[in-house]
Structures are given as C-alpha cells and as structure tokens.
Amino acid sequence: MTGTFVQLSHADWLSILPEVALASAGCLILLLEAFAPSLRRWFATLALAGVAASLYLLMAAPAGTTFDGRFETSPLTWLMGLFLGGSAAVAILVAKPYLERIRDEKGEFYALLLWGHLGVSLMIRGLDLLIIFIGLEILSLSFYVLAAYFRGIEASSEAGLKYFLTGAFASAFTLYGIVLLFGASGGTRIAGLAQEGLAGRPAVILGVLLLLVGFGFKMSLAPFHAWAPDVYQGMPTPAVLYLSIAPKGASVLVLFRVLAAVFQPGLPDRLHAAVAALAVLSMTLGNVVALAQRDAKRLLAYSGIAHMGYVTIALAVFGREALAAAIVYFFAYLVSNAGAFAAVSALYRDESKPHPVAMLAGEGRRARFAAAVFALCLFSLAGIPATAGFIGKFFIFKAALERGLYALAIIGVLNSLVSIGYYLKVVYILYMRDPIEPEGPPPLAFADGLALSICAAGIFAFGIFPAALWRLARSAAATLPLPGP
C-alpha cells in the first residue's frame, strides 16, 4: 500500500475539498492582486465565498476517515468547521471596512487569513499529530505575518516579533511532545495512542503535558498566555478577531482528541489536578488583570485568557458532556467575542494608535448600533442570561457539577463576578460618560454592520434557543471515545 504513488481515492478527494477550496480562494485572490488589482473591492466577497464553499463542501463530504485514517469527516468536524467558518466569515466582514479605512486593502491579507483558516481546519480534522502540527504551523506562520502586517507601525512589528518568538518557542515544545508520543506509540496517528499500557508511561505523560502547554499557548491559557495581550494590541483587529477565537477552539479539540485517546476511562488524578489548576489560574489571572486594563484590545485579550480558563474546566471534567459543553461554549464565545472585536474595529477611528477604552466615552449615543452590540457582547461574555455566554457557562458548570467538581464551579462563578467588573466598566464608559473625543467614530460600514448583526443575532439565538446547538454538540461529541453517558 505504501509503495505506490498517488493513490487518492474518491473519498479522499471529497474529504479534502473544503481545504482545497480555501487554498484556491487564497491563491485566486493573490493572483488577482497581482494581475487585476482593480478587483480589490471584490476580494472580501471572494474570500467569503471561499469560506462558504469550504463549509458547504465540508457538509457535503461523506462522514468517515480518509487518507489512511489520518483525516476525519464527522459531525464533530462539521460542527467545529462551522465554528471556524463563522469566525473566518466575521473576520473577513470586519476586515473589509478595516482595510478600506487604512487604505490598504490588499489581497495578501485575505489570502493569509484564508490559509491560516486552512491550517486551523487541518487541526480540527487531523487524526494525525503531524498533520495537526502542520496545520498549527500554517496558522502560526500566516498570523505571524498578519500580526506584523502594518509595517509602518512599530507596535505591529513588535507584535509580530513577540508572537513569532513565543510561537516558535511553543512550537518546539509541541513538536517535542509529538516526538515523545511518536516514540511511545510508534506513529503519529492519534488512534495509535490508544494502546494498552501507554497511559502510565512517563514519556507519554510528558508528551501529553508538552502538547497541553503547546496548545495551551495557542489557547492563550495562563500561564502560557503572556503573548496574547501584546499581540492583540499590535495586530490588526480583524486578524485578532480570528486569532482570538478559532485557534482556541481547534486547540481544545486537539487536546480532547489526544487525551481521549490516551486516557480512555478518565484523566489520572494528577493530570486532572494539573488541568484544574490551569483552569483556575487562567480564569483568575485573566479576570483580575483584565480589571486593570486600559486598552480595549488588551482587555479583550485578558478576557479571552479568562474564558479559556472556563473551557479548561470542561477539559478537567473530561467526558462526552464536557466536550459538548466546550463546543457550545465556543459557539457562544464566537458570537460574543467576534462581536466585541468587530465593535472595537468599528468604533475606533485611527487604527495606528492604541485603543484606550476611555476613548469610547459617550459613543453609546453616537455610534449607537456598534455600541449597543458591543455592550450586548460584553454582557454575553459576562454570562448574563438570555445571551449565548450564559448558555456556554451553563453547560460548563453543569458538567463540572455533574462530575462533582464543586470547587472549580464555585471558583468559576466567583470569577464571573470579577469579570462583570471590567465588562461593565466598558459598558458604562460607552453609555454613562460624556464623550471626550471631538469626533465620533467613522460611520458604520455595511460589512461591519452585517458582522455586528450576525453576532447579535447569534448571541440571542444561542442564548434563547440553545437546544438545537446542544443536541448537535452532543452528537458531535459522541465522535470521540470519551467517557460519559
């Protein structure tokens, strides 16, 4: 079997088409950039079409594993693909007016975004640590570049440097983790990890831990979070939007996959303690430090760190319900966080300067729609009921309580209380302070409005009618061999 060249089956082809669509869309945009720059205003549409096509192809692909069992098409990948596609779509929508504002709408931005998206897509679908690693690197490289995208701005270059150095550093650990697991299981397939007697070996545990920190880094999970605030601050907002959502979801899924394969009946106590400690640390540090933030994007970065703490509770619970809860959480996080970043993008006039929260004073009355959605997103992030954020927390805490992790749940809700402090701070600055900026934000672009509307609709849809999402998430979670009902 291994001896022959290129034996792609029909199923292989069908399964890879979504990624092909993304890659082609990126290439097409790049080509047009080079040969027909006048078509630039269609790039966003094209990119969106690429994302949509990829989603359609993902849905159309028959379920099963392809490429010699290294690539998955399943309800799980479809649902997570939807999650990623959603992030990408909103990011593209936000990117268009953003790039127009800085008069730098170039194809490269979209192309890199699409390729990065492709990388994440590989991460969620890969059943092979190597393909996951490659996906991770595609993502990373694209976003190293996007971080430093504003060559004319020092902060952006600095964000690029920091992201690159820390990212490469973390990749080295991830790689070493993969190596250790390879050594133990004799291959890179995740399924290979599910061998008898593997779970207890020190090398395997070390490998898993290295993967945990490697992907924890991508999740911006404390204490592997340090890059996130700086990078978010310096990076173009639409790119942050994507980076702050999609890779995190993919990373959690990868961790679930690996842990599910290695530890069939459940996490060993020690590892469980370690994961729980990460959750607590991330929630607490993220929330507490966010209180002290003055810059909108940094604030959202710390908020993201805290949210990853909540998701990590699901990892600590470790079960089918927990994975489903995490998926629901990510959908909630998607609409809330994407909306928040979209609002940030729409509310600040000068992209090259920092984004102090104080500058938003009184914008609730000038940029009504963006501010209203921003506030809605913040309430959702804070977990106020009738929003998606609440539903996310609901399932996470339910899973934790069902597993008897009371302390985690209590620390979680207490952290929510702290988080309300800074979310509401933004809200009151928006609505209860008088404007300090002589000029309001730029008029709301159509694409921004669309992105915000989508997020607001999502927040309410998931917040009020979560049943469908929960069912999907549960059936998706059944794909993994996790313990649970």
């Binding site: 690029g160 440097l161 150095l165 080295a172 050594g183 890179t188």
Partner: protein, 103 residues
Amino acid sequence: MIGTIPLSEVLIVSGALFCIGLCGALLRRNAIQIFLSIELMMNSANLAILGYGASLGTREGQIVVFFVIAIAAAEAAVGLAIFVSLFRHTETIDVNRVNLLKW
C-alpha cells in the same frame, strides 16, 4: 538498540540539545540568537524522532523530520522577515529593548 547505538543515548543527546536550546532561548537577548536556539530545539526533536524511528524500524520518523525541516525553513523565512521589518523601526533586535507593548 539501533544497530549498536542505544536508543537512550540518542534520546539523551536530543534532550541535552533541547535544554541547551532552551538556555539560549531564555538567556539570549538578540532575537536572531533566540531564534537560532529555537531551531536547535527543533533539531533536537528531529534527532529524537529519527532515533525512535530507527529503533522502531519505521520510516515515519524520517518523514516527520522531512516535514519539520520544511516547516523550519518556512519559519525562518517569515521570522527573519519580521526581524527585518522590526529593525526598520527600532534599529535593534535586542528583545529587551522591544517593549512598546506591555502592561
């Protein structure tokens, strides 16, 4: 045993190289040197996987290394481009002095 070389020896060498790289990554201030250290860490991983692969008698290790080298090359290209780009602003790649974004 791989031939006559014990696997554990290969792994120890790999581990040592990884740790040396780690020292560099943590203690050097020049971004390029840090990156070099990281490259060394990745190479140490390569060594380990080749050791494992040889020990297991599978070609998969080599394939992994093949891809890792490709990735490293790509990373180097992007990384160095970033350094250059930053250098245009700061005239330095001493990371101690690159701290516009903080707190």
